[in-house]
């Protein structure tokens, strides 16, 4: 094959290589600008990813909820309808297998159903918050310290939700962004 033909095919490949990350950015930006923000009360812990770096894994308070329905299977895809409680934090209104209409919801997975405690554990697709490698562990410690100072958990994740998709914007401790809080 001639170099020019090869080059033309390469241009198409290069466009695809640029398209995928660009599409990822645009998708996230749209949710951040048009979505509804919710505050998810959470507990951070600090693991790392070989490619993306250090992050804090967020363990959301609402990821486990009491229900008598025991028909949930591990790794099952579900829709979780979200609404605000009286304090302005997110709470689960309902978990369903049918796509909800006219309500804010996120797609989540069933982690497991605890038959003894009658508790459904969910895994949300926005449980990783990437941080500077020097701050990720400090963030976990800061959350623990902040917990000690107050009765109620005061760490929350700000999540934008639109048409079932969600983007984690930031994590706050005492209303201060976590990256600033640990400095």
């Amino acid at each position: 094959m001639k170099p020019l033909h090869l080059f033309s095919i390469f241009v198409l490949v290069a466009i695809a290589q640029l398209f995928i990350p660009s599409q990822m950015i645009l998708g996230q930006k749209k949710i951040l600008s048009d979505g509804t923000p919710y505050k998810f009360i959470t507990q951070p812990i600090d693991p790392s990813d070989p490619f993306k770096g250090k992050y804090i894994r967020l363990d959301f308070e609402i990821s486990s909820l009491a229900t008598n329905d025991s028909t949930w299977n591990r790794q099952e895809d579900v829709f979780v309808v979200i609404e605000n409680d009286d304090y302005g934090f997110a709470r689960v209104k309902e978990v369903t297998r049918q796509k909800p209409e006219g309500k804010d919801f996120v797609e989540a997975k069933v982690s497991w159903y605890n038959a003894y405690d009658k508790e459904l554990n969910l895994s949300f697709p926005f449980d990783e918050f990437y941080m500077n490698e020097n701050k990720a562990y400090d963030a976990e410690v800061a959350h623990r310290d902040a917990q000690r100072d107050s009765i109620k958990n005061n760490t929350y994740a700000l999540v934008f939700i639109k048409d079932g998709e969600a983007v984690l914007d930031n994590v706050f401790i005492n209303e201060i962004p976590i990256a600033d809080f640990v400095e």
Binding site: P3, L4, L6, F7, I9, F10, V11, V13, A14, A16, Q17, L18, I20, P21, M24, I25, Q28, D49, P50, F51, K52, G53, K54, Y55, Q75, P125, F126, D127, E128, F129, Y130, M131, N132, E133, K135, V167, L168, D169, A179
Partner: protein, 430 residues
């Protein structure tokens, strides 16, 4: 090596072993050969450099520079990618050397990975590693063919293996099978076949002869979904397939170190047979026969291996009966007939390993190959060591077994050494 040989030439001329004319011809030949061959060392360093720079960029970006705004970080994510694309574009357009193609391709490979990873980092997109790897591999696959790059083909196989392991292994991934891994490998096979056709004896082809079977060995376990016991049958069938591929004249006529299929096939078969030489193996792996995914894969591998074996016989590539080539079939029959009687298969497996060891020793002595001879002895030793752990055998019997195998080592090596010396002295007399 060549320069050493060229340095010897004046001495050979001086002692009238060769003429001055022949010496000049030899010198010219090696000089022209050196000029024509691409600078391999330069390519290796180029690729290593790109590999390190690419990985370094991933790590630097993974630090997470939170002083920059989201926008700046997004732009930064594209910098290595666009840079890599420009260099690769230039390499293709100007049809530069293999060194350029291999190095620029390697750099772009890691740039693609780092840009997707960084975007995921900036926007906190969790996503599991397997889907990230899949996107990455597929976006770089065309580069293997556009640049005719061996490094990229190798990276493709390595990362496809990583993908399969990440997708199929682990407690959370129960019930998931990485079928796409097979598609990924199939997509890189044309490049491998071309290498086998055009450069069957080159070192780079040998590397592929090792990493391809190794990749299959690593990932096959991820195709097991619950019926673990049939995993043994799957692996035995795979090793049988590799051994029989390695025995085809295409691979078998070359050097043994280039034949990863044969070595993996042989080692794997012996290892699994040793595993199965314990009684508990047949007690635990007693199972009702159901047409599960694992059984289907095993049957597919058995049929495929049998077709290759029959073809080898029809082409007279194989003459007579070589036990290790049929080992997978014997194991499969015993596995299917294991309906509760554990003694018969255990005894049979022990006898088969002993036979395998003896046959290998015989091949070693016939070929005057110390490596094969000692491999055969090692098989027998391993069998004896395994029996050492079976406590229901008398200490005296076990002791005698060890002593006799030890003596066997000395005697066979000594006899062969003597034979070889005799042969050399006979050749010298002639």
């Amino acid at each position: 090596m060549n320069s050493k040989f060229i340095n010897e030439l004046p001495e050979l001329v001086k002692h009238n072993v060769i003429s001055q004319e022949t010496a000049s011809k030899i010198e010219d030949y090696y000089q022209s050969k050196e000029q024509n061959s691409p600078n391999r060392l330069f390519t290796v360093f180029g690729v290593l450099g790109s590999l390190l720079v690419g990985l370094g960029i991933i790590l630097i970006l993974a630090h997470n520079w939170d002083d920059f705004s989201r926008f700046t970080k997004s732009i930064l994510a594209f910098v290595p990618l666009v840079l890599g694309q420009l260099i690769v574009g230039y390499t293709i357009f100007k049809n530069r050397s293999a060194t350029w193609k291999e190095s620029s391709g390697t750099f772009l490979f890691f740039a693609v990975g780092s840009s997707i990873a960084l975007i995921s980092q900036i926007y906190n997109i969790p996503g599991d590693i397997s889907s990230f790897l899949l996107t990455w591999i597929l976006l770089c696959l065309p580069l293997v063919y556009l640049l005719k790059s061996n490094t990229l083909a190798m990276l493709h196989i390595v990362f496809a293996t990583y993908y399969a392991c990440n997708y199929g292994y682990g407690y959370l991934n129960m019930g998931k099978t990485p079928w796409l891994y097979l598609v990924l490998l199939a997509l890189v096979l044309p490049h491998y076949f071309q290498l086998l056709k055009e450069r069957p004896k080159s070192n780079i082809t040998s590397i592929f002869n090792w990493i391809l079977p190794l990749s299959f060995i690593i990932t096959l376990g991820s195709f097991v979904n619950g019926f673990d016991e049939i995993g043994f049958l799957m692996y035995m069938s795979l090793f049988g397939l590799f051994y029989n591929i390695g025995k085809t004249p295409f691979f078998n006529n070359g050097k043994l170190r280039r034949n990863g299929y044969l070595i993996f096939g042989s080692l794997g078969t012996v290892f699994l047979f040793l595993w199965a030489s314990f009684k508990w193996f047949w007690e635990e792996n007693y199972h009702p026969l159901e047409l599960t995914q694992e059984l289907m894969i095993s049957l597919f591998l058995i049929v495929l291996t049998s077709v290759i074996l029959m073809y080898s016989y029809s082409k007279r590539w194989v003459k007579g009966f070589n036990l290790i080539q049929f080992a997978y079939l014997i194991f499969a029959v015993m596995f299917f007939l294991n309906f509760g009687n554990h003694i018969v298969p255990t005894v049979m497996v022990n006898l088969i390993i002993l036979a395998l060891g003896l046959v290998t020793v015989k091949i070693g002595t016939d070929k005057f190959h110390f490596g094969i001879l000692n491999y055969g002895l090692l098989i027998i030793t391993s069998l004896v060591v395994c029996r050492f752990f079976d406590t229901d055998m008398s200490y005296i019997v076990r002791g005698l077994l060890f002593v006799s195998v030890g003596i066997g080592f000395f005697v066979t090596n000594y006899i062969m050494l003597q034979k070889k010396k005799k042969l050399i002295s006979q050749n010298q007399k002639l």
